[in-house]
């Protein structure tokens, strides 16, 4: 398993709130290979952003806490031999070396993810100054070079501008520049294009593809837009109420979804050119404070039976790394 870059096993992140414990992420396991794109898909509140943020331990500590599991990051250190580090066991200072250098982040909302009171040159330069101890003209050259890489017009002039002087699309390119500045091995993109228009989104997706190929960078793409997943991702994890209910290659997930929830998602998305009545899942997503016993999807699942109501289904593998968590699964699509 040479290509393995990151392996997350049974990750649990809970939020301790006045009214109880919100099990935002409750036993999530998945793997990513070098240079591959993994899609984390699910409706709002299913815990996909919390999972991603837990990797870099960016969970706000008063309410949230990572209570279990391990995150194994495999990388060669300077002398080239492979070493596997569990990010959860690292001290704060050590994890900081990872952030921005080996693993970096692009956030969703371009309007708020850049600091309004600092110039973009200053902000893009920070990872260089920190991780590669650059300064002066060398730093300036590097900043302009990475801004060119994300195709920002005349970067040498725009370097002194403030974030509010950029359009949404441009700002997202700036945060991408910040993300890829130190050529990380893994980029976590939390709904990078949701706040953008379709044509600007297409431009950004194209940029992501180029950057990914150029530096063979693995990407965890978090989104609720199945179209983007189909276009960019190699593997997909479908999440529901804090757990991964299905994990598989893009082709299999779209062609032959195993879990009833994945199939329902596929059929409730309107598709261009095909005018038909959408399949709609009844009811609402469960309240993470009072999760139903057994599989958390049974109140909305038309195949649920007694067994589903008692126990949470275990991981049953389909082929290779693909797996699904559903009692009704017996090869092919549940029907």
């Amino acid at each position: 398993m040479n290509g393995r870059l990151l392996e997350v096993n049974n990750l649990q992140t809970h939020f301790f709130v006045r009214r109880g414990i919100v099990k935002a992420v409750d036993g999530v396991s998945f793997k990513i290979d070098k240079g591959k794109v993994l899609g984390l898909v699910g409706e709002s509140g299913c815990g996909k952003s919390v999972t991603a943020m837990s990797i870099l331990r960016l969970i706000p500590s008063p309410p949230g806490k990572i209570v279990g599991g391990e995150i194994l990051f495999r990388s060669e250190d300077e002398s080239g031999n492979e070493e596997e580090i569990d990010l959860l066991k690292l001290s704060l200072i050590e994890i900081r070396k990872f952030r921005g250098k080996r693993i970096s982040v692009v956030l969703q909302d371009p309007m708020t993810s850049l600091n309004p009171v600092f110039t973009i040159g200053n902000q893009v330069g920070e990872p260089f100054r920190l991780h590669e101890k650059l300064s002066g003209p060398a730093l300036l050259k590097k900043i302009i070079e990475v801004l060119k890489r994300v195709r920002i017009p005349n970067p040498d002039v725009r370097i002194a501008d403030y974030p509010h002087q950029f359009s949404g699309g441009m700002r997202q390119r700036v945060s991408t520049a910040m993300g890829i500045s130190c050529n990380p091995q893994l980029l976590i993109a939390d709904e990078p294009t949701t706040a953008l228009d379709v044509t600007i989104q297409a431009q950004l997706l194209k940029l992501f593809e180029q950057v990914q190929q150029e530096s063979n960078m693995a990407i965890i793409l978090i989104t609720h837009n199945l179209g983007i997943v189909a276009r960019l991702c190699d593997r997909v994890c479908v999440m529901y109420a804090g757990r991964i209910v299905e994990d598989g290659s893009v082709r299999r997930i779209f062609k032959e979804p195993a879990h009833p929830y994945t199939r329902a998602l596929m059929e409730s998305v309107p598709r261009l050119g095909k005018k038909k009545r959408l399949f709609s899942i009844e009811g609402q997503p469960p309240n993470l404070l009072f999760l139903p016993t057994g599989c958390s999807f049974w109140p909305r699942c038309s195949f649920a039976d007694e067994k589903c109501k008692q126990e949470y289904p275990p991981i049953t593998s389909i082929e290779g790394d693909d797996y699904v968590r559903c009692w009704q699964y017996s090869g092919g699509t549940v029907s």
Binding site: E43, V198, A202, I228, F254, M266, L272, G273, K275, P285
Partner: protein, 321 residues
Amino acid sequence: MSDVVLAVNKLTKYFPVRAGLVFDRTKGYVKAVDGVTFEINDGQTFGLVGESGCGKTTIAKLLLLLEPLTDGSILFKGKTLAEMNNEEMREYKFSIQAVFQDPYSSLNPRMRACDIISEPMTTAGGFTKVDKEDRVKELLEVVGLLPESASMYPHEFSGGQRQRVAVARALSVNPKIIILDEPVSALDVSFQAQILNLLGDIQERFGLTYLIISHDLAVVENISDTIGVMYLGKLVESAPAASLYSEVQHPYTRALLSAVPIPDPDVEVTQEVLGGEVPSPLNPPKGCRCHPRCSLKQVICAEQEPEFRAGHRVACHFDTN
């Protein structure tokens, strides 16, 4: 052919941009909507698609009389609003209702669901308390909510349920037309499907006419009979939903369609990415508005504004398919 219930002719709306420290001189105009013409047939759904800033929401506001017209006219059942007397105007006002995008801001947090739904009835007058209660119960049932939710406050509903209350409110005075401004963009996929199906069923049952506005092409295409594509205040193309997708003509529409990611990994990505940024509506480019970003632009595009060709109506000098 069913008659045209609502039509718009050369609709124009300029927003003056004020500047100056103390005395506001009008420095320029944002040409939000610039000469848009289309008709909607009775019982049909007309979809308006376009990116942010193309003026589609402004059109909704103009039709709902929330903003005064700068130029052009609105025709209701063949009669322009200007010519209408008070009685007809009143009929127009109560035959058009709306559902907006953000479920959290379209319901008054201080009012119970039953008051919210019956609000248009109270302002219209002529309904007794009992009529209103029955009507509310009936409407709740139509939109798939339980009768008990009548006494609940907005913060006790989920996003999807709030949008159902908003739909119930729009139905309360039996309108003929409902304007849907991004009705599902703020909702999750499962709620989106529920609301779209609900809107489809209600249209059949009450014979309503919809004007649906969205930036999400797939949503609009799924529910609309004819679709209009807008760019920077102008209608660049409008055609029946089926043919718009198969034989698209305008370069902007083609780019728009190809930019929508298809949820199917096998579909080869024919990427016709529009370069550059949307120009500012304060001083739109001369001639055809999308010439700065259009891959097929010629000299003529920059000078002369293309006329709206009939049939599969396209506003472009060239026949591009």
